[in-house]
């Protein structure tokens, strides 16, 4: 159907742009989108290089991960994407990458403090890090369990105000209203991670942004009275 074709194009373009934005070397990253009635998820095929991707290579799965359309195997991270779509009902796209700066924070298992307005425009506070998966969780349905620890990390957080997370020892998962917005958020997260690294190099004791300024920047872009961008 036409709606799914449009999604296939958008998801394909977002995957190709992972490489273009320097977020993913080789085949290390994947983007997906969900259709409006949340019955179909379109996702990158596993292990295929970005330059070679065409919309017909995209794999369509149902909410349980069964392949509905497409000849290739879906990304091995598909169960993580599906867990996020199930738990976060407002999101329309998910991006997973191993972008270097964000991954460094994930590997050091250190949340990214909000040091400036660049960060505040995107995240309403520190970028969280999940707990480590247990040996049992890894031995079992590993990729689905990765989704579970992300969801667990958001029990007290709003996924719209925090559009991403660092999985401990792994890397970022990022989301948005669409896969295109998820990609933009992944670019933004990598940029603020790099800035935070350099901020901490200049002063390991740098204090977080004043709460009133954090709030102001987040609200002027995302609040009910938002005035950033075009109407």
């Amino acid at each position: 159907m036409a709606q799914l074709d449009a999604l296939r194009n958008e998801v394909c373009q977002a995957n190709r742009n992972l490489a273009k934005h320097g977020l993913a070397a080789l085949t290390w990253g994947n983007a997906s989108g969900i259709n409006a009635d949340r019955t179909r998820v379109v996702i990158k095929p596993s292990g295929v290089e970005y330059d070679a991707l065409t919309p017909t290579d995209m794999v369509v799965v149902d909410p349980d991960g069964r392949v509905v359309e497409g000849k290739l195997r879906p990304s091995s991270d598909t169960p993580t994407h599906l867990a996020l779509y199930r738990a976060f009902v407002s999101i329309g796209g998910v991006v997973h990458v191993h972008s270097p700066h964000a991954t460094a924070f994930a590997q050091a298992r250190r949340p990214i403090s909000c040091f400036g307005t660049t960060h505040a425009d995107l995240f309403n506070g520190p970028v969280p890090v999940t707990r480590a998966l247990t040996a049992e969780e890894v031995a079992g349905a590993y990729e689905a369990n990765t989704g579970c620890v992300i969801v667990e990390c958001f029990e007290q957080r709003d996924p719209d105000a925090f559009p991403g997370v660092l999985v401990a020892g792994h890397g970022p998962f990022v989301w948005g209203a669409s896969v295109t917005e998820a990609l933009r958020n992944a670019v933004a997260l990598e940029t603020i991670a790099g800035m935070a690294l350099e901020t901490l190099a200049l002063d390991e004791q740098t204090r977080p942004l004043e709460p009133y300024l954090l709030d102001k920047h987040h609200q002027r872009k995302h609040g009910t009275g938002a005035y950033y961008g075009q109407k």
Copy 2:
């Protein structure tokens, strides 16, 4: 009028070059220029991506920020630009970006010491950092107040000898005789910020450049007996 058309072209080109020079990811940066009689400011529309910008997208505002020409909303940072044009009567262009190295210093709220002649060619001493805005300033006319704290920071400084500033917890604002020169100064500021970061990594106690060498380099480029460049 023809003069404004030329300015629109120059401002559009400067905005497009923000992305080309790696100073601005996504839509995070804006450049503006003022006409000769200082009655019109041409500025980037808010939240539009650089690749898509054309001269007719540029927004023309009067000194009070009222839109005079253009169908789009001007950058949300317009009141900051206007405050700078009002206070610094010699400048013809302003660039605001979140370029990573300069932003790291802004986030660490640490002035950039002058460690070498690259810096001395541009700034006649350390790049200053503003004080933080108060909760009241942020709750009120935030963007105009950002301009106020910059102007306050220059009460004892010459904006021609210091063509930029780091707003605490935010990022750099840079200016010049034209928007093209402001862009060049923004490129230069990001470069010297990166060099200063690495200099401090090599030796946190690095001492500033000898004052006589700082002065020499600044004067050979900007003084009355300047001999850098073509006549």
Copy 3:
């Protein structure tokens, strides 16, 4: 013969891609491949820039390093490549570069700990560093002896589970089932070295990835039940 022509093309392309991937400045890197019956090695000519390389420039040597085809001198590192093909019978390609992040670890003579799943996908543990060559080894058959210290370092390691090594004070040698895979592994090694540098900058005491997660990632990509990529 046709088989050797295909190898010449693949080796030429891999060498040209060293520069494209930012792994080698100037002429600092070389890639080689071995034919199926392990009687011929195709390698880059010494000191020739990447942009100028054509398949006919590639040099064909026998397992003792004698030039069999080609008008140019082979890479001065040829004896190291030959030592690796002799000792590691499963490999089909070798890449040697001075890529900056991996070389920094080689210069600091510090193994790259496995801090995350990006690393675990490639190496089944820390990336090892060889011992330093002795004065006698350097004065003698230096390049062949470089191969010997690498092989010595793998007496207790599986070259398929650890597809590369850092030669102390020198840089990485990387391998794979083909020269194309060796190139991919060299890109991956440089990426994980950069991430490890930043991880250590964030926390010098970062602990290695949980062994069960290291093993899981390595096995899902390389084990008998691997399910990453296409069938």
Copy 4:
């Protein structure tokens, strides 16, 4: 004359390549070459952007710095170049840049230790830093005096074994048998400076390369029995 035309082309190309190799932002760098009988030096005009440079823009000066051909003013650093040609009779080209990593060492006034074979291929020991110029030297013939402190730094060093230097608080000057080789050496110096920065970040106490390995690498490329590259 034809010989000078060839030099003009080569110097123009080297200057254009400063930007292409990321060694010089804006107009911050210059390359020159000297003719065979050392009567004419061809150098970049001052303050002109690299993209716009054509061979006829190059300025020809005599050994005393008088303009012999060309309509533009020569680089303000011309007297430094001339001092180097006078003192180092084997060199045919000079490159001056403010490339970030090398400039960071110059600003921290810290020699670049030889930590690996990449460095040893180029410099037969640490990259030296000049002493600071005195107030009198800066107030007088500043650019010529910059040449003098470089030459002073080489009283006990061979400029062929050490093809460059860091001027304290300023940046690198690099040379070679031709301007093309000087450019290659400037690329190499920036690369080894970057690697040294990361090596020191990993271990501030990293010890220099074993002298026998330093010597071996330098000799295999530059000694009488050199076997790197083509005959």
